[in-house]
Amino acid sequence: MLFEVKDVYYTRMRGTPFAVEALKGCSLTIPEGKITAIVGPTQAGKSTLLLTLLGLFRPSRGSVLFRGQDIHQAPFDLEALRLRVGIVFQSPEAQLFEETVGKDVSFGPRRKKLAPAQSRHLVQESLEAVGLPYEEFRTRYTASLSGGQKRRVAIAGVLALEPEAILFDEPTAGLDPQGRQELLALLQRLKTEHQLTIVLTSSSLADVAMLADQVIVLHEGRVVLSGSPRTVLAHAEELLALDITLPEITQIALGLRSLWPALRCDVLTLDELEEELVRFLPHAASQETQLSSP
């Protein structure tokens, strides 16, 4: 297990009139080398949870373990953890702080005191991994980039740390359909090619159902469901009640349930839905053969 979160409570702005209890007894585990999706409606505490994983917020109760070690116990080095586990924030504006793209992406390597040539190589590699040509973007001002480009630069800045795991906070929010597909493909590539552990949050299952190995559903600072995408999708009606967007196929299956209440809705692809339908329409299969035979 990479991370284990045990019954964590955390209050934002504790001790002020603005206090909000963001995590209320949250327990979960994040396995190594897998893609874990944390899904929940807005204000569920997803962003807070990610920052708590990195020890940026100290839980008021409960503990966070990294490979079995409590991250707030004495011998544990939090800074080393943050260099090994990167985070990409919800809004890239929150993440970039240097003037130019090159300086921002090289911030991590410079902190690690790598040799200039090595750090330059890393920056180039990271920028190209997110699809930004190095020479063209190196000297661009971060303030002059578009939103989508800023997000890519933010990801490159984290890749340049050469982390073992990356936490992505709502990485697909605000992207166009193509940008979304590209980003999800990048996540998949990071997992398969670099053996990275990926954690991502989302308010929609549509993007993550195909990608994630494990889904954790968070609501009001607590885990309400968890398991493989299929196990979670089987509770489609509960998910809808929590305001979580479902994949289109699941939505169709759910709609068809008014005709066949026993229809399974934990289907991910069109083929699966078809198979499921065929179960309920015994003559549909024979019709299909009839249609295609002449």
Binding site: G15, P17, F57, V158
Partner: protein, 279 residues
């Protein structure tokens, strides 16, 4: 650094519907000005004790957690403590009859020095408290409206009252904005391996210095965003034949007159007490 906004309440407004938040901003500003004048005038301990009671009364009226307000003053008070040490050590009396307690080179601790510095610093603390409370219980919009209404007569002298108030209010509003910005930058840098609040003083200062430049940059960007937003909503400070209307017109109620009367009474009491009290 990462949760710095928890510890600084300057410029925050807590809308808890208490009697103080409901007062008319004009009344609050007038009372504030009166109290500041009186607090600055007095010097005797008896009068300072009355100030303390007054502040406690206001605290009760505001229904704010005492701890929160005090927490917001912590930084200021620690700064004041350092000043206090200097004040005491370098106190030179106007009358020569000082009862020296301790003496070393140019440094002297005398009874008069102790008394005088304590009085001055207590006053400063009370003034700071009043200012924080005014901001904690008044939204910036109200504060601006109130100040503008009170200063309106000065327009006859050709003073651009509205513009001045607007500039002042925006400046105030930037304090909490900059604090959130410091928080954002320190989180962003911490996730890429910067340590805050650790190591020797030199390392701490170096960690902080990495925030200053981006802080300025983003501050300037905010200014640009703000001016674009104001322009997009056709903000015009005011020109001939143009009167801005208000969504919330200020209304002076009985409670406001009562507050003002109480405040006047208190100021009278304070000044009188300051006269008759022997210490």
């Amino acid at each position: 650094m990462i949760e710095i906004s928890r510890h600084i309440s300057f410029g925050q407004y807590v809308d808890n519907g208490s009697r103080l938040t409901r007062l008319d901003p004009r009344a609050k500003i007038l009372c504030f000005a009166l109290a500041v004048a009186a607090f600055t005038y007095i010097s005797q301990f008896a009068a300072l004790a009355l100030c303390l009671f007054f502040c406690l009364f206001l605290q009760w009226l505001s229904r704010l957690p005492l701890r929160y307000v005090l927490q917001g003053m912590r930084m200021f008070i620690s700064f004041l403590v350092i000043l206090y040490a200097f004040q005491v050590l370098f106190y030179t009396s106007s009358t020569q009859a000082t009862s020296v307690i301790w003496h070393w080179g140019v440094l002297t601790i005398s009874w008069e020095g102790l008394m005088h510095s304590t009085q001055v610093d207590l006053r400063v603390i009370f003034l700071y408290y009043l200012t924080s409370l005014l901001m904690l219980t008044t939204s910036l919009v109200d504060l601006a409206d109130g100040a503008e209404a009170l200063l309106r007569p000065l327009r006859r002298l050709g003073l651009p009252v509205h513009e001045l108030v607007m500039v002042f209010v925006i400046a105030l509003k930037f304090v909490p904005l900059l604090i959130t910005e410091v928080e954002r930058l320190s989180i962003a840098q911490a996730t890429r391996g910067v340590r805050f609040g650790r190591g020797n003083p030199w390392q701490r200062i170096r960690a902080l210095s990495g925030i200053i430049v981006p802080l300025f940059m983003s501050g300037l960007q905010r200014v640009e965003m703000l001016s674009t937003a104001m322009e997009a909503r056709c903000y015009r400070a005011g020109y001939r034949g143009w009167r801005r209307s208000k969504l919330h017109a200020l209304q002076w109620a009985g409670a406001d007159s009562l507050a003002l009367a109480c405040c006047l009474l208190l100021c009278g009491l304070l000044v009188a007490l300051n006269f008759v009290s022997p210490f």
